[in-house]
């Protein structure tokens, strides 16, 4: 009977023996047959992430389960002269996980154990494939959570958060991923491991942990992370304010911060995105307002009521047409569910979107928003705005149908102008999505040649042969790997 218990799937997998590719066979010998995928369908799917960019070319896709297996993969890649691209859940929006140069794609989804919760040191040791929200749920009975909460929180991995130094609505008060990663074990591009950072309050030497967080997979692969545990606050109040003008919402945000209040989160959505979101969640978002502001304060019971009251007053003085308090935890959850699924909800309007991610000084929010709407008009595009208003992190969302002739050119041109407008207002290229393949060409707008050369030297100190996630972040003129040559590898992939 034992044989009949194996599914067709297993039988088919086991039937295929040699792949005809020495590199693939070596990987299979090091891991196992069914944790090294070489078929066209797998490679095709792993050539993309959640971004709008053309896919790359995935080589073999591997699913290591241990640090030693990651090391083995990296060493074999070195021996065979192949590149390595790490991948979490594939929800990145800047193309950071797109494989360039037919690399081996290292999917860390099977390394998903929460290894230890250390309440004394207030950290949890986790593997990189742990899903962000799963970690927070596991910590809940202990009264803690992992503070960075990107919109993709229900699916994105801690490894991906480390690579992109991810943010999220509640990072306004709590700080982004860099503030919540204490130490980590990484597999360097040589295949050796290193421990960066440490549990002691002041680790010795250079802060290489700080350099690694946000390096988008170009310095190595993280295999264990000590994340900080954040205590859940006893009380929380969530305010929903409606405005007739996006400018009023933006000004409210600036005024709240200027008044010395630090809310846990302050998020703005404009009319069109609110309609799409409300259609999905039915949370009671006002669909006729030009903009809604979601503001949350947390802390002690008495304090949150005072802060909520002050924020409501500031909203009203900025012509808020409606100010409401979430009545229950269930309603609060529903409001946040709406905010966090906003990007996915736009397919109700059009099948494609390009989500931007620039940061501008809070005081410039209203002006830059106005410019964005003007750019949309000029390029005849639908641009919606949903953003982490509290820290000036804009997410202009260009919604389009890629099947229309010439639309992609307009989308990219408009995107370029949005970035320019943001930089001109004293902003930066990326709040949290990273540079990836998306914003390389804008890097020289932001940094001088000297800056870029030094960034590249740091990268080469870790990865002298440019084998780890090549063709990302640092623009080609300053990088050891040339994007064009990576892109020009003939497509022999399935489909």
């Amino acid at each position: 009977m034992a044989g009949s218990k194996l599914s067709n799937l297993t039988k088919r997998r086991q039937r295929a023996e040699s792949s005809g590719e020495p590199f693939v066979d070596a990987l299979r010998a090091a891991l196992s047959h069914n944790r090294v995928k070489w078929d066209g369908a797998s490679r095709s799917l792993h050539s993309h992430d959640a971004s709008v960019f053309d896919g790359g070319n995935s080589g073999p896709v591997v699913y290591p389960e241990t640090t030693a297996e990651v090391q083995a993969v990296v060493r074999l890649a070195n021996q065979h002269g192949r590149n390595v691209v790490p991948r979490g859940a594939g929800t990145g929006l800047a193309g950071g996980a797109i494989p360039l140069g037919v690399p081996v794609v290292v999917a860390v989804t099977k390394m998903n154990a929460i290894l230890e919760v250390d309440e004394v040191n207030r950290v949890a040791w986790v593997e990189p494939g742990v899903i962000n929200l799963d970690l927070t749920k596991q910590l809940k009975p202990l009264g803690y959570h992992f503070a960075p909460d990107p919109s993709s929180q229900q699916v994105c991995t801690i490894g991906g958060n480390v690579a992109n130094n991810s943010g999220g609505p509640h990072c306004l008060a709590y700080g982004v991923t860099n503030a919540h990663v204490v130490a980590m074990e990484v597999v360097l591009p040589s295949g050796d491991t290193a421990m960066l950072g440490g549990l002691e309050a002041e680790p010795q030497g250079f802060d290489l942990r700080g350099a690694f967080v946000g390096s988008e997979g170009t310095l190595g692969i993280v295999t264990k992370v000590a994340v900080r545990l954040t205590k859940n606050r006893p009380a929380v109040r969530t305010l929903l304010m409606a405005f007739d003008d996006v400018r009023d919402a933006a000004n409210t945000v600036s005024d709240v911060i200027a008044a010395g209040i630090v809310p846990a989160a302050m998020e703005v959505m404009d009319k069109q995105i609110t309609a799409a979101v409300e259609n999905y969640v039915g949370a009671g978002y006002p669909v006729d307002a030009a903009a809604v502001l979601l503001a949350e304060v947390d802390g002690l019971d008495s304090g949150v009521d005072i802060d909520a009251d002050r924020i409501a007053k500031i909203g009203r003085s900025n012509k808020a047409t409606d100010v409401r308090l979430a009545e229950s935890e269930a309603q609060r959850q529903l409001l946040w569910k709406g905010r966090k699924t906003a990007f996915g909800a736009v397919a109700q309007i059009a099948p494609d979107y390009y989500l931007h991610d620039t940061v501008v000084p809070r005081s410039a929010l209203a002006d830059v928003l106005e410019q964005i709407y003007e750019i949309a008009d000029r390029y005849d595009l639908l641009i919606m705005n949903v953003f982490h208003a509290g820290d000036g992190n804009l997410h202009p969302l260009i919604v389009f149908d890629g099947r229309q002739e010439g639309v992609l050119e307009r989308v990219h041109a408009a995107g370029g102008e949005i970035i320019t407008a943001s930089l001109d207002a004293g902003g930066v290229l990326s709040g949290e999505h990273g540079i990836g393949v998306e914003k390389q060409k804008f890097m020289s707008r932001m940094f001088t040649n000297d800056d870029l050369d030094h960034q590249n030297r740091l990268r080469q100190a870790f990865d002298p042969h440019c084998r780890t996630n090549p063709g990302k972040v640092i623009p080609s003129g300053h990088s050891c790997a040339d994007i064009q040559s990576l892109r020009s590898v003939p497509n022999t992939v399935w489909g």
Binding site: K5, G40, K110, T341, Q348
Partner: protein
């Protein structure tokens, strides 16, 4: 190859990936080809870019449990279930999916005489201990069954195929509770032998349509149809989409899950003799929670009749039963069940309430004590001893 999937449906997916953690096969494999986003992308590649139907692509499609847990998770409302049904129908018609043995295995479902004979044979075989393990049967299959007697004609009780032969006691409990609530009940019996859910999952579309039409002919109009199997209820509520006729729409509108119906009539239900002294974990069958989306009613109905209701912490992730899935893909179904069992163990219940025969048999096969919610209500009302 044209998979006959609606282009607008395909384009409704923006590949954001929010569905991934809600997919049981992605959860246990971590593999993009076993995720809704991956499967939709493969549908696109095959349908729009004429990519070849390799064994890996077919695996990606055939390993989908069709739990539809991805649908409520999708902010763009991608109708994944219908897309997968279209793909499977096209591939089954082309001889690429659903091999002959699977087709043959489903034949008796539509034929009560054959099914009864088969079930008795299985019961005897089980007693002789010659039933293959992959069938996952641990609960004893009854050799003989007492007849369900009609108590009136206010509502139909849909009795169906496999459930009627394996779990008629659940129907009996439902019949008794509905009657106690003042409804005269007609068991559908041979007038409506099978809903076609399993055939539909396997891509056997013409068989499914024939069964749906047969059921609509066999049942009197305007009488509510109460269903105590979540999978059957979901299929019957979809007849409007399946057949595309106004008549089928009207039929679907009078289909109710047992708890859905009783939750609307709580005032008519008798007080419990004594609430059962049990901590009950509610396991939401996928086709109740993700497809019919009426799972809250189970709680409303159960609450007065048991000491304590407890929620599982996996947000309704599938248990791996998936109709005949646990037989066709035992390896994945087992891994998915392991997750569910771990979640059940964390909830430390005395018993698990599951409103779908497939789930309760699949969980029962590894020793999880399961009861249909209506059985618990029945026990509480009658004060019967011994669950």
């Amino acid at each position: 190859m044209d998979l006959n999937i609606d282009e607008d449906d395909l384009n409704a997916c923006v590949q954001c990936g929010l569905c991934l953690p809600h997919c049981p096969t992605f959860r246990v494999t971590g593999d993009e080809t076993m995720s809704p986003r991956g499967r939709i992308k493969l549908m696109r590649e095959v349908q729009d870019n004429d990519a070849p139907l390799t064994s890996e692509v077919l695996d990606a499609f055939s390993t989908c449990v069709q739990c539809r847990g991805c649908e409520p998770a999708c902010p763009s409302g991608v109708p994944y279930g219908h897309m997968m049904e279209s793909a499977r129908e096209t591939l089954a018609d082309a001889g690429q999916m659903t091999p002959t043995w699977q087709r043959l295995a489903m034949k008796p479902l539509a034929n009560p005489t054959l099914l009864n004979a088969g079930t008795r044979a299985l019961s005897v075989a089980q007693k002789l201990k010659v039933v293959p393990e992959r069938l996952g049967l641990s609960n004893e299959i009854p050799l003989t069954q007492s007849k369900l007697e009609a108590t009136g004609s206010d509502v139909y009780l849909f009795t169906g195929c496999v459930m009627d032969t394996m779990q008629r006691s659940v129907h009996a409990a439902g019949l008794a509770v509905l009657t106690a609530a003042g409804f005269g009940v007609m068991p559908t019996g041979n007038a409506a032998p099978c809903c076609g859910a399993l055939q539909s999952h396997a891509g056997l579309a013409s068989e499914t349509r024939t069964l749906a039409e047969k059921m609509m002919e066999g049942l009197e109009p305007n009488i509510p149809i109460i269903v105590d199997s979540a999978g059957c209820g979901a299929a019957m509520k979809d007849y409007g989409h399946l057949l595309g006729t106004a008549e089928a729409e009207l039929f679907s509108e009078r289909v109710f899950d047992m708890a859905e119906f009783l939750a609307m009539h709580m005032d008519r239900l008798p007080e419990p003799a004594a609430p059962l002294d049990l901590r009950v974990a509610v396991q939401d069958p996928c086709h109740l929670r993700h497809v019919q989306r009426v799972h809250e009613a189970t709680r409303t109905m159960l609450a007065p009749y048991v000491r304590e209701l407890v929620e599982l912490d996996d947000e309704g992730l599938c248990c791996g039963a998936g109709g005949a899935y646990s037989i066709f893909e035992p390896e994945l179904a087992g891994q998915i069940r392991d997750r569910k069992v771990a979640s059940i163990n964390r909830a430390t219940p005395d018993v698990v309430a599951s409103a779908n025969p497939g789930c309760s048999m699949h969980l029962g096969a590894v020793g999880v004590p399961t009861k249909h919610p209506i059985e618990l209500v029945h026990h509480a009302i009658t004060g019967a001893r011994g669950l």
